[in-house]
């Protein structure tokens, strides 16, 4: 894309671009993510129906204020990324940059809170396969197995999303993303919103399970 071109060539009618196609492709990928996490939600529901009381007891051990704080952090990051796109559409590069920076900052905040949470669980002897959990029984073991798997997989998506957004920031600063060509930024935004949507479901399933 960035190979040396004269201005006339860059804007020549022969330039091949299909923004709708790019977006359809992104959505198709997001569907695979939806089915991936959807499968895990189905697994959660099945185990919860088998171990209803153990799931409720185990849910009490999770830190509700931290879970809710992280929800607000992610919801706000969804807003900031959508504003970054909105300002890019309006050709305001400075504001788009600022809101992308804010989004990346919120992604890091989410990860810091997640780390604090997981560390506290480890200190209390709660981690996959820990003797403490095995003592408590199969229900608690399944609950925390799913908790670490699903929040871990989600956390991995936050890290990938953060990296994507950093690349987008670089492209906005460099001028590769412009008012007339911002489909990559839009697609990165779609990915980030999906990460938010998944967390919207994780909050009640785990933190509010008690």
């Amino acid at each position: 894309m960035d190979t040396p071109m004269t201005d006339a060539q860059a804007h020549a009618p022969s330039e091949h671009r299909d923004d709708l196609g790019a977006k359809v492709g992104m959505w198709l990928f997001l569907f695979t993510e939806l089915i991936l996490f959807g499968g895990l939600f189905i697994l959660y529901s099945a185990y919860r129906s088998m171990h209803a009381h153990a799931f409720e007891d185990a849910g009490k051990l999770l830190d509700v204020p931290l879970g809710v704080t992280n929800t607000v952090v992610l919801l706000t990051s969804s807003l900031t990324v959508v504003l970054a796109i909105a300002y890019m559409q309006r050709g305001d590069r400075r504001k788009a940059t600022a809101f992308l920076l804010a989004t990346i900052g919120l992604a890091l905040t989410f990860l810091v809170i997640k780390t604090i949470e997981w560390s506290a669980k480890f200190e209390h002897g709660i981690f996959p396969g820990s003797p403490h959990l095995l003592e408590k029984g199969p229900g608690e073991t399944l609950f925390f197995g799913l908790y670490f798997l699903m929040t871990g997989l989600h956390g991995l998506h936050v890290i990938i999303g953060g990296i994507l957004l950093t690349v987008m920031l670089w492209w906005v600063v460099k001028g590769k993303t412009t008012q007339d060509n911002y489909v990559y930024l839009e697609n990165a935004g779609l990915y980030w919103h999906l990460v938010d949507v998944i967390w919207i479901f994780l909050l009640p399933l785990f933190y509010l399970a008690a």
Partner: protein, 97 residues
């Protein structure tokens, strides 16, 4: 050659996004409060408010409101497929235990 005519005309306003964010935060607060009141209310809130929140993100933040019928239909089929599987699961659990 630029497709300025249709794509740049109807940008959603900044105010819309702020309103959606506020609604999401309020719905989250309602969900948390409901979960502290009673078990039944918590389940009811989980089953109604959570899909509503996800819907708001999909419709406004993910721009579905402003997309054509192709993308809307694709998302509908994907979510419907997932719901069918979830439905099967509940039938299965209902008849097994």
């Amino acid at each position: 050659m630029e497709h300025t005519t249709e794509t740049h005309a109807d940008h959603p306003s900044i105010g819309t996004f702020l309103a959606v964010w506020l609604a999401l935060v309020v719905l989250t607060a309602m969900l948390v409060i409901a979960s502290q009141v009673s078990h039944d209310l918590a389940v009811a809130a989980m089953l109604t408010l959570t899909p509503l929140k996800a819907g708001l993100v999909l419709y406004y933040f993910m721009h579905l409101k402003y997309e054509g019928v192709l993308l809307k239909a694709m998302v509908f089929v994907a979510i419907a497929t997932l719901l069918v599987f979830i439905g099967f699961l509940f039938f299965d659990i209902g008849f097994t235990w």
